[in-house]
Amino acid sequence: MNMNKHLFKAMTVMVLWTLSVSIKAEVAPPPPKPECQDIVYRKWNDVLFVDNGNEEYVSYQWYKNHTEITGETRQYLYTHGIPMEGDGNIYHVVATRANGSQVISCEGRFEDFETSVTLNPGKKIKKAVLYTYTGFKIGEWNDIPEHPVVDKGCYIWVVMYENGDILSQRILY
């Protein structure tokens, strides 16, 4: 009788201990998720790339909708003219440093990433004037036209930029 009492007591303790462990396990906070970093920019409508301005990263793996894209291990993801813009897919990249540590980019659709041209703009042309080699003015444009001349030969472009710079360059058409 006394022995049964002890056995019951021991079993009760075990059940309570198991319960407490399982409850503890359930309420334990999840391990901290590594914070994503804004290291991806977009270009045109078919290129995403990693900013490696500090030469931090040595290898990359791109993901689409959380699935690894086989073979896409370059600094940029290029879809060969097929627009990523508006395709609704979620992209991110895992970049690895030389010491093996990894950085996960913030994920997003193509249009969620910042465009690089706003941060690194080229000089905008205000006026482009084309002259023949002997100094005759052929025409004036707001941009460099595709075929400004009919006759092949050497010409001179004088290009005025919006920031006030002026470029004079010989060119052979």
């Binding site: 030469e55 060969h80 690089s116």
Partner: protein
């Protein structure tokens, strides 16, 4: 010297000969290249094979001295090789972003050849070394008229872009102007009449003494004193824009020239004054003596 010539002429009399020869060797259009403006490029002008066919007439005043005139057909060639990278810094891509455009040049070859009709006038100096063998030297000048020329280029190039703020190098994006392509085409050369000097040193020996047929061989060299080839325009910046691609491609490379033939670029350091070194072999047919001896016969 003059007295000796006169004495020899009097003793041996004037003879003449016709000669036909063919030769070959190494030739160059004579220009040289510098990478002062595109330091990423290595370049050299290798020259090319040279050919010469000659038919001539000679007057032998005496045992030692003669004069020659003739007509030659000669070929001069050059092969310029480029390798390395050419850079256009701070240009703007089709999206309006600043970057540096790099063209990597693999085995680029730009070669030219010129065929000329040449009229040589020369002096021969002959020295008998044995009964049958004579060594001779020949020095002269020739007027050279280009009659035909050709030029072409061929090579593989890769366009890539370096976006420095991101340490990003882009390649293999054909729709944005970064691609690898093989380019080849031919172009015209502007050629000019020139004057050249030449030297030959050779040996001659009879192959048919009875009919006065002599075989001869010589090593020879020639240098032109005036440029044989000049470009339509000069001092251009070399470019690799290829407008056979579509409008986007053209726009992507708007900062760059079409490929400028090497002779019209600022990579040229020395003008194209051809020279050649080679050897020739030929046959001389000696025309029988035509010295007129005085007639001692008595008139009736």
């Amino acid at each position: 010297m003059v007295l000796s010539l006169l004495v020899n002429t009097a003793v041996y009399g004037i003879s003449s000969f016709i000669e036909i020869s063919a030769g070959g060797g190494w030739s160059s259009l004579g220009y040289s290249l510098t990478n002062e403006t595109q330091q990423g490029l290595t370049m050299r002008q290798n020259g090319s094979y040279g050919l010469n066919a000659h038919i001539g007439y000679g007057l032998q005043f005496n045992k030692y001295i003669g004069l020659g005139i003739g007509v030659d057909l000669a070929r001069y060639g050059a092969d310029a090789r480029l390798k390395g990278t050419a850079e256009w810094m701070g240009v703007t891509d089709t999206e309006g972003e600043r970057y540096d455009h790099i063209v990597s040049v693999h085995t680029w070859s730009d070669w030219q050849s010129v065929y000329m009709i040449e009229i040589p006038l020369s002096v021969y100096l002959r020295f008998p070394v044995s009964e049958n063998v004579r060594v001779y030297g020949q020095i002269g000048a020739k007027v050279c008229l280009p009659i035909m020329s050709s030029a072409s280029y061929q090579g593989t190039i890769s366009h890539s872009g370096v976006y420095e703020p991101w340490m990003l190098t882009i390649s293999d994006m054909p729709n944005h102007g970064f691609y690898t392509a093989n380019m080849q085409d031919s172009y015209a050369l502007r050629t000019h009449l020139t004057v050249a000097g030449f030297v030959k040193i050779g040996v001659e020996a009879p192959v048919d003494k009875l009919n006065n047929v002599w075989l001869y061989g010589a090593i020879c060299g020639s240098v032109h004193f005036m440029p044989a080839v000049t470009p339509d325009t000069g001092n251009n910046i070399i470019g690799w824009r290829n407008d056979t691609y579509d409008q986007t491609m053209y726009q992507a490379h708007s900062f760059m020239s079409d490929y400028s033939p090497i002779l019209s670029t600022n990579l040229i350091k020395r003008e194209a004054k051809p020279f050649a070194l080679g050897a020739e072999i030929g046959i001389r047919f000696r025309i029988p003596h035509f010295k007129r001896y005085g007639c001692n016969c008595e008139r009736e």
